[in-house]
């Protein structure tokens, strides 16, 4: 700290410190913390608060029904007063008792697992009970006319019920306001966002990690010879051309690289066209393989899209190797395999670690490849599951939990690489 103040003075040093602090707090730590907070906050959509919301809805509906009935009775009364008797009025008031059907109690464990199962079923029952037109009683049709007193006798309990209901709505709404600001959601800290991960999602998660590992290994196998060749090339011009050849596809937009492969794999695409030229299939007759929208296609395109993230780090490390070491090993009679195993690979370790981490992170977290190549038809990639949790299921907390799971998988992979290749964080991010 003193050396810093010595060279830049107090004013500038505090500006630097302030900027770095803002960066760490606002751009890195707080967003991560809010994700972790959400990941461990379980929104109980089937629990007490949700039942509360359903209850309030139902009470409103009952008030609405009573109002209809009251209007009818009022009309009947008006008719009586006007001296004309109305006939054929339906009754059904007996089934109108709002509390005849028990309101489902705040449900326990079962409803937590199936958020929408429990509340909806009794609700449906209630509705049929409530519906005044659901079962028109035959008896009431015979009541040709009633006296004003009879109608008022029916009206009185209804009005009382209505009053009760309105009171109840008020208390329920106050209760709801108190429990949470988000309507119908009860929040509590728990691991449920993780433990509730369905087996399908878990499989997708594991498959994604597995595929990402395969992409990483394949990328290493493809890239190591290239990196070695470029790093050991002695001619300056050749190195420049090779570097250009690597930089251009590396710098071209990820999506366009993917796009070029979709053109190839499309049903009317280049690969099928090539097979057609070879006479293997007949495209005129509508033959052809639909290569896109399969996990294989996602995998192929992913290797193509991220392979170059492996080349440059390995190249950078092999480039610093004193090439005389390779010559010395050769002169001493080491086989090619042995030279690589004992001389080049150990030196390239940090580069391999960086390349592996970048490739794994990019492919495990890629949403560009699966969403464009997959067209939603192939089994999901985990990034797509996360996206759907956020923007389709509107369950941000579970989305946050899934994101956290992905992040943890990446961190584990990074630590594993640091351990295997014995490199520090400073070697990794250079």
């Amino acid at each position: 700290m003193n050396s810093l103040i010595k060279s830049y003075g107090k004013g500038l040093t505090s500006i630097f410190l302030g900027l770095t602090a803002i960066w760490i707090v606002v751009l890195i730590v707080l967003p991560q913390l809010s994700m972790i907070d959400r990941a461990f906050t379980f929104e109980d959509r089937g629990g007490a608060a949700a039942t509360l919301a359903v209850e309030i809805d139902r009470a409103y509906e009952q008030v609405f029904q009573i109002n209809i009935r009251l209007d009818e009775l009022q009309a009947e009364k008006d008719d009586l007063i006007a001296g004309t008797s109305s006939a054929g009025q339906q009754e059904g008031a007996s089934s109108l008792n709002p509390f005849a059907a028990p309101v489902p109690a705040p449900s326990g464990g079962a409803s937590d697992l199936n958020p929408f199962g429990t509340p909806s079923a009794p609700q449906a029952n209630d509705r049929s009970d409530l519906n005044p037109f659901g079962a028109p009683s035959v008896g009431s049709a015979n009541t040709v006319s009633r006296t004003l007193a009879e109608i008022e006798a029916e009206e009185a309990p209804l009005l009382a019920d209505k009053g009760d209901l309105e009171e109840r709505i008020a208390t329920l709404e106050a209760e709801e306001q108190a429990t949470s600001d988000t309507v119908g959601v009860d929040k509590s800290y728990s691991l449920k966002n993780f433990t509730m991960m369905s087996s399908v999602h878990l499989q997708v998660f594991l498959a994604t990690i597995g595929y990402a590992l395969c992409v990483t290994i394949l990328a290493f196998a493809l890239c190591y010879p290239v990196a070695y060749a470029v790093a050991t090339t002695t001619s300056r011009n050749k190195v420049a051309i090779l570097m250009l050849g690597l930089l251009i596809p590396y710098a071209i937009n990820e999506l366009l690289r993917i796009f070029s492969w979709i053109m190839i794999l499309e049903k009317q695409g280049i690969l099928n066209g090539f097979l057609d030229l070879l006479g293997i299939i007949n495209m005129e007759a509508g033959e052809g393989f639909r290569f896109v929208a399969s996990n294989g296609a996602v995998f192929t395109v992913m290797v193509y899209a991220y392979v170059l993230f492996m080349v440059f780090p390995i190249y950078n490390t092999i480039d610093t190797l004193d090439k005389n070491q390779i010559e010395a090993a050769k002169d001493l009679g080491a086989s090619t395999w042995r030279i690589h195993w004992r001389v080049v690979l150990p030196h390239a370790k940090p580069g391999i670690a960086v390349g592996a981490i970048m490739t794994f992170m990019l492919s495990a977290g890629s949403i560009a490849v699966p969403s464009t190549v997959g067209r939603g038809l192939h089994p999901d990639w985990f990034s797509q599951v996360i996206y759907r949790r956020f923007f389709e299921a509107d369950n941000w907390n579970q989305g946050a939990a899934y994101s956290l799971a992905l992040l943890v998988a990446c961190i584990i992979f990074i630590m594993f690489n640091m351990w295997v290749f014995r490199v520090g964080i400073r070697d990794i991010a250079k």
Binding site: G11, L247, A251, E254, L256, F259, K330, S366, S383
Partner: protein
């Protein structure tokens, strides 16, 4: 000594009749570059094909129709504008942050630097969608800001600032601190020293970092896709078009990107070669 050694290796190589290992390696390089470039070449060729589905096999005649169609596509034009707005914001945010972080890390002599370093580079090692998601969550929960250009800018800045920081650190490690010390000894204020010595020394890196930040920002898909909300950038628009099938207009964008990239990469390689010689 080194000259004779180099001479020796030279003769050792030429002595062997056929270097099979080298031949195989060269063959492999050829295949690898074909693998890298053929899809791009297909993409470029198909941009000039009159066929409404991008193809190189079903050739329906040369056309520039798709080049004319692109400027009329308002969503692409708007997307490009959004991309540029975001990129500008990213540069404005990440350059000062990266610079501040780099200055702290290179001058701070403390045990805490490794930890600080880990925190500051962590966004680079975080999957893009996680960065997008965390930014979206934080800004909505804390300030009620919904996904849009602002959250996309912030999400991108969080990791692009790390790239900038690493570039500045590489430059600062080569700085001769004696100049600064001499200026201070001669009575210059620390602000003057920073403005007249450190900043000019870093200027080339600031420009490079701004260029890299611009490219990274425009190209970014994964983070932006999550943080952009209902808005769109050029790249997310390409992505959403691709999900519903492909059109030659995207090939045209591809041609433009390829052209820009080839020019930029050539300039970069030329520049670094000249530097290497000098």
């Amino acid at each position: 000594m080194t000259a004779t050694l180099a001479n020796h290796t030279e003769t050792a190589q030429s002595k062997s009749p056929i270097d099979w290992a080298a031949a195989i390696l060269n063959g492999y390089l050829l295949i690898f570059f074909a693998y890298m470039f053929l899809p791009m070449i297909f993409m470029v060729i198909a941009a000039f094909n009159a066929s409404p589905t991008p193809s190189v096999i079903d050739w329906q005649g040369f056309t520039l129709e798709w080049f004319r169609a692109l400027p009329q596509d308002q969503r692409f034009i708007d997307g490009l504008m959004h991309s540029l707005i975001i990129a500008l914001g990213v540069i404005v945010i990440s350059i000062p942050l990266g610079l501040a972080g780099a200055l702290l890390l290179t001058r701070l002599k403390s045990q805490a630097t490794t930890f600080l370093y880990t925190v500051l580079v962590s966004p680079m090692l975080t999957p893009g969608i996680v960065l997008g998601a965390t930014t979206l969550i934080f800004w909505r929960d804390a300030f009620g800001v919904e996904g849009g250009l602002l959250t996309a800018t912030i999400a991108q800045s969080s990791f692009i600032a790390s790239y900038c920081m690493l570039m500045f650190m590489a430059r600062l490690q080569r700085q001769d601190i004696v100049q600064e010390e001499a200026a201070l000894d001669l009575g210059a204020s620390s602000f003057l020293v920073f403005r007249r010595i450190t900043l000019p020394f870093l200027m080339p890196t600031i420009l490079t970092a701004a260029a890299i930040a611009l490219l990274q920002s425009i190209e970014n898909y994964n983070t932006t896709f999550f943080a952009i909300g209902p808005s769109w950038t050029l790249v997310t628009e390409i992505g959403s078009r691709m999900r519903f099938g492909i059109s030659p207009v995207i090939n045209v964008i591809g041609v433009l990107f390829v052209a820009i990239t080839i020019i930029a990469a050539t300039v970069y390689v030329m520049a670094s070669r000249r530097k290497g010689r000098g």
